[in-house]
């Protein structure tokens, strides 16, 4: 198979100006991968700075409720509250090795932006984050934190003003700045070596989870669920079980307002994704007959993306990973349940995996062991969640706060 390809997906469809940059990045990545000291250093940083290993929490109350043994992998407990920390710290160490001084990143929900900004602060890099103008509006708290952490946040007003446009803008920066700048891509997408490299850093989730489930449940899980935007948290946990053919792996995409409505971000489960090339790689994209990318919809900004990891597209094609979707309403219902039963506030992105797992509980044999990857925590979504729950107390608070600011 051609380097950087997973079946027919992947590759490096990059402008010629970046050819040399990618050659050097691939070399640095391959050297790091050959060097056991690099992974040791990575584990030390993740333990000391991000609290790893994250727990695999036995969800006692949900287990009683559903009659299936439910375990939750707590990526929400990472530094900055999501699995994104695994990727940025890994790439940060690589940036140090390459001797670059400036990092740029795209962000959708803002989680990857915040994670990159913390990494840059910690490692002493200059940091610029590109974020769709719509997302800046939806995720103001994350913008606030990125700025406090010393990053420059650039709102992107082109295209659909969301994640894909932030990626394009970051690429435009990079084609001019590659000599001193590394582009910290946030997910297992983009041109080779990004899908493979990001998946490598995220594999820490699955390595831990496999060991933890064997310790705690004494057996491998029946199923593993993870949400899929670009696909990095799913790649992270799935890799731990990919060779255990008896473990079913389920990737859950954003069903938005329902697949039938057309307002969703489901590329694989909906069957709507068409083979294409954009953002540097080949995968199934949501696009029209002319090859123009379509608008996507999700209550979760982090799942609102037109493409999907080429590695996951391949695992979908081979049948190793099954894909499903959860719609906005199911996601909010699942969040209410998770909060009330287990006291966990999951990110709206992560709740897609939880929602689908809940929906499929009846189809599993009783006492089945199930792992759900809780890729991030939901505090950041307080505005969106409060809207979705139509909470009167919150509305009153915001109105009062607004009056206070107006009177200043």
């Amino acid at each position: 198979m051609k380097k950087g390809y997973f079946g027919t997906f992947g590759g490096a469809y990059i402008p010629e100006i970046l050819h040399e940059t990618f050659r050097r990045l691939t070399q640095a990545y391959e050297d790091a991968r050959q060097d056991p000291q690099f992974w040791r250093e990575y584990l030390e940083v993740m333990e000391n700075y991000s609290g790893r290993p994250t727990p695999l929490t036995f969800a006692e109350n949900l287990t009683r409720h559903f009659g299936r043994k439910i375990y939750i992998k707590r990526e929400d407990l990472n530094q900055t509250g999501a699995h994104k920390a695994n990727n940025v710290m890994g790439q940060g160490l690589l940036v140090r090795r390459m001797g670059k001084k400036r990092v740029i990143a795209e962000t959708g929900a803002g989680q990857h932006g915040v994670a990159t900004a913390t990494m840059a602060a910690r490692m002493g890099f200059e940091c610029v984050i590109y974020m769709g103008a719509k997302d800046v509006e939806r995720q103001r708290p994350n913008v606030f934190w990125m700025q406090q952490l010393g990053a420059t946040v650039v709102p992107v007003n082109s295209g659909s003003c969301t994640l894909k446009d932030a990626i394009n803008e970051a690429m435009r920066d990079w084609v001019g700045s590659m000599d001193e700048t590394h582009y910290v891509l946030g997910t297992a997408c983009g041109a080779h070596p990004f899908p493979e490299m990001v998946s490598w850093f995220q594999s820490i989730i699955g390595i831990e989870a496999r060991k933890q489930i064997l310790d705690q449940a004494g057996c491998l899980p029946y199923r593993v669920y993870a949400c899929v935007g670009g696909g990095s948290n799913a790649m992270g946990i799935f890799q731990g079980f990919i060779n255990d053919s008896q473990v079913e792996l389920i990737g859950v995409e954003a069903g938005g307002e329902g697949i039938a409505s057309g307002k969703h971000a489901s590329r694989l489960a909906s069957g709507a994704g068409q083979m294409g090339v954009a953002h540097g790689y080949k995968t199934l994209f949501l696009q029209d007959g002319d090859g123009q990318m379509r608008e996507t919809h999700s209550v979760a900004a982090g799942l609102d993306y037109v493409g999907v990891s080429p590695i996951l597209a391949h695992l979908h094609a081979t049948g190793r990973v099954r894909f499903a979707s959860a719609d906005n309403r199911e996601v909010v219902d699942a969040l209410k349940k998770l909060m009330r039963y287990e006291g966990l506030i999951g990110a709206l992105e992560s709740m897609h995996g939880v929602a689908r797992a809940f929906a499929e509980m009846p189809s599993m044999p009783e006492d089945s062991v199930v792992i759900i990857n809780l890729s991030g925590r939901g505090d950041k979504d307080i505005f969106t969640i409060a809207d979705a729950l139509d909470d009167p107390g919150w509305r009153e608070f915001i109105l009062q706060k607004a009056r206070q600011y107006q009177n200043r």
């Binding site: 490096a12 050819h19 082109s158 084609v175 294409g276 090859g291």
Partner: protein
């Protein structure tokens, strides 16, 4: 390979011209409209532009700067469809005596089937394809289809960039046909370019890496810029600057702008 190169129609047309330097201009189809594109092309050709590249808009134009990226987006927002764009291109080839090239991103080709897109371009009489996100490593089939269906009439146009080492330029040069598009600097289209010794050194390396004519683009904006390129490259590519003139001063100003550039010639 070298034999096929020298027989390319585009290369012959460029070589046949006696002007000390030729001008290649750029149009984003459907922006602001195909009707206005037509008027602008009439102006360009009347002003003596030698080659025109027509860009088929794409929703993810990663290699383009703000002005051209915005033009892509606006064209799509106004309902541009690839089919009508191709009809416009076919008509342009019939209407004007100069070579017409297509510039776009590879997904536009893929959506119609890369081979059938190339076949259709060859049939229409398009002289070259510029696809900045299909690098050499991925362009094998596309180059083959250009040779097969174009029979010397349609070239796959490669890009040289200042970040490429000599071995990379030579690798690209071995596959070059028609012309090579040299990117003047790092960054995207439309930013300022310094016409300094480093650029001239890059152009010397480009010349050493291929026998086909060279076009230089990215940041060529003025009569002075064009003049400085005489003897260095066969063609100067003017894109963003002309779009800006069109938008701020109207269609006729485009004709005056290119007539001004031609005085350098």
């Amino acid at each position: 390979m070298m034999h096929a190169d020298t027989s390319s129609r585009l290369q012959q047309q460029i070589r046949a011209c006696r002007d000390p330097i030729q001008i290649m201009s750029h149009i984003v189809l459907g922006y602001p409209s195909l009707e206005e594109n037509r008027l602008v092309m009439d102006q360009m050709v009347a002003a003596g532009v030698h080659v025109i590249e027509l860009q088929i808009p794409f929703s993810e134009p990663i290699a383009d700067g703000p002005v051209i990226a915005y033009a892509n987006q606006e064209s799509l927002r106004r309902g541009f469809r690839v089919e009508e764009g191709l009809n416009f291109i076919a008509e342009s080839v019939r209407r004007y005596p100069i070579p017409i090239l297509i510039m776009t991103y590879v997904n536009i080709l893929m959506a119609r089937g890369v081979e059938s897109f190339i076949q259709q371009s060859a049939t229409m009489g398009v002289r070259g394809l510029i696809v900045p996100d299909l690098p050499l490593e991925e362009a094998g089939s596309a180059m083959e289809w250009c040779r097969l269906h174009g029979k010397g009439g349609l070239d796959w146009i490669h890009l040289f960039t200042p970040t490429s080492g000599m071995d990379r330029l030579e690798a690209l040069g071995r596959h070059a046909s028609g012309m090579v598009y040299c990117v003047a600097r790092r960054g995207v289209t439309g930013q300022r370019t310094d016409f300094d010794p480093a650029l001239m050194d890059f152009l010397n390396r480009c010349r050493a890496a291929t026998t086909v004519p060279l076009a230089l683009g990215f940041g060529v904006r003025s009569h002075t810029d064009v003049q400085q390129l005489i003897g260095k490259v066969e063609l100067a590519v003017v894109g963003t600057a002309a779009i800006e003139v069109h938008l701020s001063q109207g269609v006729e100003a485009v004709g005056r702008f290119f007539s001004g550039l031609k005085q350098a010639v």
